[in-house]
């Protein structure tokens, strides 16, 4: 197998504070990205998706944070082991990031032009008129009209979509090989979101930039990502190419997420099937599956340590890049692919566990609830 652009192995991030319990935000996340590939990290708030991206960019504070694992660029440079000066050189040229909130990522008292040319000076050594011309060219490329005028303006004078375009222009200023986009469209309206997604897609297609897309929106993932990692409580619970993932979600969490979203293209009037509880109802991965307190397929086997990552029922060829799932009772949707999308009824292939609260679940769930409250 050829060397991947970025290989993340067993990434673990633990936040420590004196007198408090350690919080493991990311525990053992592994994935890889090739050039021109779009990989999605999907999950709800608190699942560790943003911490993963900050760790890769070296943007986590040094104090109070313990990182483990490796993140190899080109199979050799470990991003997690680099010192500040070295990672600063890589940021911008090799890696770049687009954040969720474009207004707070831009300096409000500095004109857009200065902020864009700063990167060109730092990494490409451009000065004066050449830097300004290149900045205007970059803004033009991301679809900002009248770039020469916009360069003189301040962030508050731009609309939300325009600011996000400016951020993307800054991110791609040095033609990075990997672009990390952390919820790039969450703060935007749908019609503007469509414009920004189109722009990202174009960058990937034309420049061969690899894109790590971090989002909570399964719709965005379905349209953009080649491969998807679903995170829950700091672990990848399911990883697959996008088509198998949506056609046959194997982890009950993925399955539940898809069943709980109202969809524009589905017939109206079907009740939603929410996942019960909240992300606070969790147990430590060391004790068992963190999703067990909310899971409809719970059994005592779920509490026997961390479930191993294994090929999903529909995985044709078992391998590191096939459909993987971390569950004792993966949902087998291969037998009824159409019914898989919406209803949560037990089907042939499901483990025969009652969907109602099983006897063993109650203490675990209520215990964690009390902790959370």
């Amino acid at each position: 197998m050829t060397t991947r652009l970025l290989t993340v192995e067993d990434l673990t991030v633990t936040f420590t504070a004196r007198g408090r319990r350690d919080v493991t935000a990311v525990s053992g996340v592994s994935f890889d990205i090739g050039a021109g590939e779009v990989v999605g990290l999907v999950g709800e708030s608190g699942c560790g998706k943003s911490v993963t991206s900050l760790a890769l960019m070296g943007l986590l504070p040094r104090r109070g944070v313990r990182t483990g694992g490796r993140a190899l660029l080109d199979g050799s440079t470990d991003l997690l082991a680099l010192d500040d000066a070295r990672i600063r050189d890589l940021r911008g040229t090799q890696l770049a990031m687009v954040f969720q909130d474009p207004l707070s990522s831009l300096n409000p008292v500095v004109p857009i032009g200065v902020q864009v040319t700063e990167i060109l000076r730092r990494h490409r050594g451009l000065r004066g008129e050449r830097a300004r011309a290149e900045a205007a060219h970059l803004l033009d490329r991301v679809g900002i009209p009248d770039p020469a005028r916009r360069l003189k303006e301040y962030p508050h004078q731009l609309s939300g979509g325009m600011r996000q375009r400016a951020l993307i222009a800054m991110a791609v200023a040095c033609a990075p090989r990997l672009l990390i986009a952390d919820e790039p469209t969450t703060a935007l309206d749908v019609t503007i979101q469509a414009q920004i997604l189109e722009l990202l897609r174009e960058l990937v297609d034309q420049e061969g930039t690899a894109l790590l897309m971090i989002t909570h929106d399964l719709g965005v993932v379905a349209g953009l990502c080649d491969r998807v990692n679903v995170l829950y409580a700091g672990k990848v619970v399911e990883a697959a190419a996008r088509r198998p993932l949506f056609a046959a979600p194997a982890h009950p969490y993925t399955h539940g997420l898809l069943a709980s979203i109202p969809r524009l293209d589905a017939p109206r009037g079907q009740p939603l099937k929410p996942i019960r509880g909240s992300v606070n109802d969790t147990i430590a991965w060391a004790e068992g599956c963190a999703f067990a307190p909310r899971c409809d397929h719970f059994s005592p086997a779920c509490l026997e340590g961390t479930p191993a990552q294994a090929p999903a029922p529909d995985a044709a060829v078992p391998g590191p890049r096939s459909h993987l799932v971390r569950c004792v009772h993966p949902v087998n949707t291969a037998t009824a692919p159409d019914a898989a999308r919406r209803d949560g009824q037990p089907r042939p292939g499901h483990p025969p566990h009652p969907p109602s609260e099983p006897p063993g679940a109650a203490p675990a769930a209520s215990a964690t609830k009390e902790k959370a409250e």
């Binding site: 709800e44 189109e198 174009e202 379905a222 349209g223 949506f246 969809r263």
Partner: protein, 388 residues
Amino acid sequence: MTESESASASASGPEPASASVSGSGPASAAPVPPQGAPPAPLLTLSGLKVHFPLRRGVVFDRTVGHVRAVDGVSLSVPAGRTYGLVGESGCGKTTLGRAVLRLTDITAGSVVFDGTDLAKLPEGEMRRARRRLQMVFQDPLGSLNPRQNIESILAEGMAAHGIGAGRKERRERIRAILDRVGLPAGSLSRYPHEFSGGQRQRIGIARALVLEPDLLICDEPVSALDVSIQAQVLNLLEELQDAMGLTYLVIAHDLAVVRHISDVIGVMYLGSLVEEAPGDELYGTPRHPYTKALMSAVPVPDPKAEDRRERILLTGDLPSPADPPAGCRFHTRCPWKQPTRCADERPALRPAGGAGTGHRVACHWAEEIAAGTLRPTGDLAAPVLHRV
């Protein structure tokens, strides 16, 4: 201050909508009977306008213009049903919801609730009327006082409206309503920060329901919540409607959410309603170019559907509501824009798609677009970046 007030008063004077409404009431303002046997409208807005003055100058405090947040909206919400209002940020949907409750001043038009024009009520009576119109806010943490416990939050409104004789009875009612929205009985003495986002939204709903309202205005009720929690709150709203016969005005930007919960949907753009139809009708045959674009922009969590989804990419951003385009508000971004009429004649919201469909659209060319005789002027769904 006085200057602008007199200005807005004189602006509202010659308004035909406000003049006609007091006499003819709901009959004139209920042009859309929804499918099936339509219940009588509980809430009817006619020609509702909310304009915010733009001020400049320190000494003279001149009014230099108006932000037309809501600019002539007429709609009616049938009793016991859900009216969904969608639109992007800045389209005026939240202002409309607040204007119904008179949380912002109404510039012109009428808000007829159960036969009474709220726009004309004196402040004291309006305050009493608010018991029957309650609001669920977007941000559950921001709308709950962090220093009040749940019992105090819920009892405050009851005391103000004289519901329940004494503390004990109020507590009983609060217990019942908390149970109804799915919160543990032990929540009474807790504070908002002790709850998760979904639970806080349930508190917000309980706070509204404890006053036994008839109409609930839900402003982005689920947009602050995680995906898996959104479904819980949506289901709760539906259950409550069935059990208590509530009428909802749901304001949201998420089309899938609005479609799921609404019977009738109105699409807003830059302060006015561009299209209105029963849910299935609107999503089945959208007639306004903006609705088409909005719906085509929503990503669907299904790769097969995503790959063949036709995308209508709108160019540019929302124009400023302080200086809206003349003619059709949407013509600056419309892919179907025509050289005549669009730029100089403001389209009225008129019936479309045959009688009985309850479909109204504000586009001069809706029929031609539906028939396919008008082609979009820009190229649609092209995989290249559209320039503004």
